[in-house]
Point group: C2
Amino acid sequence: MRHTRRPSRQNDPSGLRRKVLDAAFNLFQARGYNGTSMQELMKATALSGGAMHHHFPSKQSLVLAVFKERVAPAVRETWIEPVRAAASLGAGVQAVFDTIIAGLEERETVSGCPLNNLALELSLADLESRQAAAGIFREWQEALSERVRDTRGGKELTKSARGDIAAFIVSSYSGAMTLAKAEQSAKPLRSAAQTLKRWLQSRELDK
Amino acid sequence: MRHTRRPSRQNDPSGLRRKVLDAAFNLFQARGYNGTSMQELMKATALSGGAMHHHFPSKQSLVLAVFKERVAPAVRETWIEPVRAAASLGAGVQAVFDTIIAGLEERETVSGCPLNNLALELSLADLESRQAAAGIFREWQEALSERVRDTRGGKELTKSARGDIAAFIVSSYSGAMTLAKAEQSAKPLRSAAQTLKRWLQSRELDK
């Protein structure tokens, strides 16, 4: 049986939903999923328990929506689209690192990659969160893998070998961001960008 | 002023302390720091609130002891000592990956690297935890950097360039472990081990 519940008095339901997702994305990023209570989210958004429950009946439903509607778009905007639009894989990867490093240097704190943060915190605790994280990691790696195929060194590689290159780019970036968060410094990302650049060149995977 | 407090009736205080540290290390690894309550820890160790408080007056003091007495030794045992004992950097890195991959394949779940897990969860929330994590990452990188110097390609590198190599090994491992946790599979680590091996060889950093 399906219930289609429509609250009779709600001015801007999709606006409220967006507001909750934005607040949850920011609070999860700053304090983690388990470090953020639904009470804090209600306070941050000035929503009643009933209104919150209407949009997100559980904290799990909220974090799944955050993965789908905030984390995945952030990975697309930060990584996938710039790499697709770049002249080459090498140029794309460098442009992404440059943008992220410039952003970190502008801000005071390094909050880390939202996908990595939530993936590490929730992969064991919640199957659906883990699957959501794994799906975004997959999409990210597939986009990189496609660009590997366009390079001199990449066009003769098997699909599996191209996937290894893509996974290595994602891994070295993710790990460098963890170091950057622990050191509260962009230095590990600058170092990783240089090393990745030279590695891609040496395997003719840069263009 | 220093107080040396000795509880008059405690059968095995250092044994109890170890028991709490072991339980905390395991629960933090399975559920995260914020996902584990002091009540759960008391239950897991059958300790009273008073006994727990005697050893660890706060949850922060407990996690700092976990960093120092469990996470740092784990990184030394898993990474630093095998890399120091190996015939070469390349052999050491491969041996570490082989051991970790074999361990993951034996167990049912991929819990991830305890240092990365706690570092990502706590680096923004607690300055002392962040410093503890950063210190362990530093020790790990320094040990790798020393072995970089022993290689054909590494002996002419500057200290800073050797540090970049060490940071890249730590980053690519850490990120691959995050992918492994999200996928609940050892595959990203096998892939990273292969790619790292070939990269170290290409720069004559393997031996």
